[in-house]
């Protein structure tokens, strides 16, 4: 089957007064793709989403969504979109069922006619259908919001940070649902500040300060990281960070979870030399192991290079 483009963005820039939110962004999303926009807070993710969903007009460049221009043909685009804003909090004073019914009626459909599509998501919520949505947990709220965004069977689903502030288990469940929706043929663009979620996308765009650093499959993004990577652990992390930064030849030092990720400027670091150095610095329980780079390592790397340029 020939794949078609659902979203095409050409050299789009957008500023809010002095702030350049997006600079010369271009990319395309294919039909049926699960496309991730990965970047820290303030990178321009929300602006990008609002440009795609026609709520904002670009200062420069063009956006075409499902074959329509976002500026002149926004009326054709809007009914085809399922949009979940980052701030979206549903109507807290309506019940789960009422929220769903409301969004169904506003989009000119009924819960019954599209029930099959949302059933896998909504059936988890059904025991609580008479509960006010304000009383739901964060994960439940997001599932309800997703159901509401899906109720009119959109062609393109735009999810702005759907998993922010949601617990790990609910996040995993949420991504499982996205995969399932992808099977249904719905194209999905999702943004997240969590690097680990990038691996679950077909392709990702790494975005930082309004510019796209790289667009590729998660594997290729990680493969772009070529330097050998060491994971270092010691009983005092703060002291360890300082010691690693002061080590001659040290390049990048980033704490990620349990281990501090460490690379050297030229080629291969010698774990033994490093271990001796760290113990000399008075650090205890030093453990060093070779690590596989993850997407955040590449992101930090790209960000670092972008800043140097």
């Amino acid at each position: 089957m020939k794949s078609t483009i659902v979203v095409e963005i050409n050299n789009v820039s957008k500023s809010f007064r002095q702030l350049k939110a997006l600079k010369q962004v271009s990319f395309a999303v294919e039909e049926g793709e699960l496309f991730g926009v990965i970047g820290p807070d303030g990178a321009g993710k929300t602006t990008l989403f609002r440009l795609i969903n026609t709520l904002l007009i670009p200062d420069e460049g063009t956006l075409s969504v499902l074959g329509y221009d976002t500026v002149n043909e926004y009326k054709q685009i809007r009914p085809l979109l399922g949009y979940m804003p980052g701030k979206f909090s549903l109507y807290q004073d309506l019940t789960v069922e009422e929220n769903l019914q409301f969004f169904a009626s506003v989009f000119g459909t009924s819960v019954a006619s599209n029930y099959e599509l949302i059933k896998p998501i909504y059936h988890q919520l059904e025991p609580f259908k008479n509960r006010l949505s304000g009383a739901l947990s964060g994960g439940m709220k997001q599932k309800l919001a997703l159901s509401c965004a899906l109720i009119h069977k959109p062609k393109l689903l735009l999810l702005d940070e759907p998993t922010t502030g949601v617990d790990a288990v609910s996040r995993k469940e949420f991504w499982d649902m996205l995969k399932m929706l992808k099977q249904e043929g719905i194209s999905i663009i999702v943004s997240t500040p969590y690097m680990d979620e990038a691996n679950l996308c077909d392709r990702v765009a790494l975005i930082q300060k309004g510019s796209i650093l790289q667009i590729d499959t998660p594997t290729s993004v990680v493969n772009g990281f070529t330097k050998p990577l060491l994971g270092v652990k010691a009983s005092n992390t703060y002291q360890l960070l300082k010691a690693l930064k002061s080590f001659p030849g040290s390049d990048s030092v980033h704490p990620f979870g349990e281990y501090v990720h460490y690379t050297e400027k030229d080629g291969e670091p010698d774990p033994k030399v490093l271990q001796d150095y760290l113990e000399q610095q008075g650090l205890q329980n030093v453990q060093i192991k070779l690590m596989d780079p993850a997407i955040e390592d590449r992101f930090m790397d790209l960000m670092h290079t972008a800043e140097e340029v």
Partner: protein, 369 residues
Amino acid sequence: MNSFAGFVIKEFKQIYRDKRTLTVLFGMPVIMMILFGFAIRNEISNAEIGILDRSKDEVTHQIIQKLEATDAFQVRAYLQDVNEIEALFREGDIKEVVVFEANFRQKLVREQRADIQIITDATNPNLANLVQSYTANIIQDYVKALNSEDQIEQAGIMPKVRMMYNPELRSVNLFVPGLIAVILMLVSTLMTSISITREKEMGNMEILLVSPLKPYHIIIGKVLPYLVLSVVNVITILILAIFVFQVPFEGSYLLFFAEAGLFTLTALALGVFISSVASDQQTAMMISLAGLLLPTVLLSGFIFPVQSMPEVLQWISHIIPAKWFLIIVRGIMLKGSELLMVWKETLILIGMTVFFIALSLKKFKVRLQ
């Protein structure tokens, strides 16, 4: 179900669920009515006055007795000389001094006219005005009685003041129309602007904009429930006014409700306009309260008569919708005015409403920017 109906149902549900606000909205008219009706009165009771009687004859005695006989006045000082008046006022408790000229009765009988001077402490102009008219009223009553009893032809002792339509100067009569204006402003303007900005603040407006709902669907859907609430409130106030406070209702109920409906629309249009300017609930509330409710209370003639304001404020009062509404409703309730007598004010209100509706429809964006 069509999207507009779905939206309206949701609005009603949300308002109905918010029991606290609902209690306030329905309770407020009752509480305000009782407060204004019983507690905050403009009537005078036991105002302390002084008397300077240079004549000390039968007629002046009778007039003084009349003044003393009412609950309104309490004679606290009998003066001997004009020079004492100023000192008495400076003490601060005396609101008014009534001066009878010398040979009062003689003049009255011979020349058919005699003068009474009424001096008031105008540091509180409203009170002074009130005290003065009240005194004049009492004197006039006396003169009328005098005429019929003693057959003295047209005895003229008069500051020529007559209080029409509200002879007892009952403040509740004046407050009711003002109260209706304030309540409608609160319910319609404040609540509508808050309810629309809440959608913006919660991020739901983004979805509504992306949805097939048209801007006027959203606006009408937001406004409709408050229109219903306003009608209920107007009826509540009217029932309380007529049955508890015996406020007269001279005019036509149909005209009254038509005008009240018009003013509600003005208030709703203002609310929608505010929400198109304000980005969050706080701002909307500040604009509604400080920018609209305060002027409505202070500048519309609700509490302070427009005529006694400085000219600048009088000009400002022209752009306050409540001022025109007050003129209309006072006319209908107290004077029995018909549409022909209030058409100018009605036209001004219609103009304002159309202006704000047009402005908000234009300002209501289909996008975020």
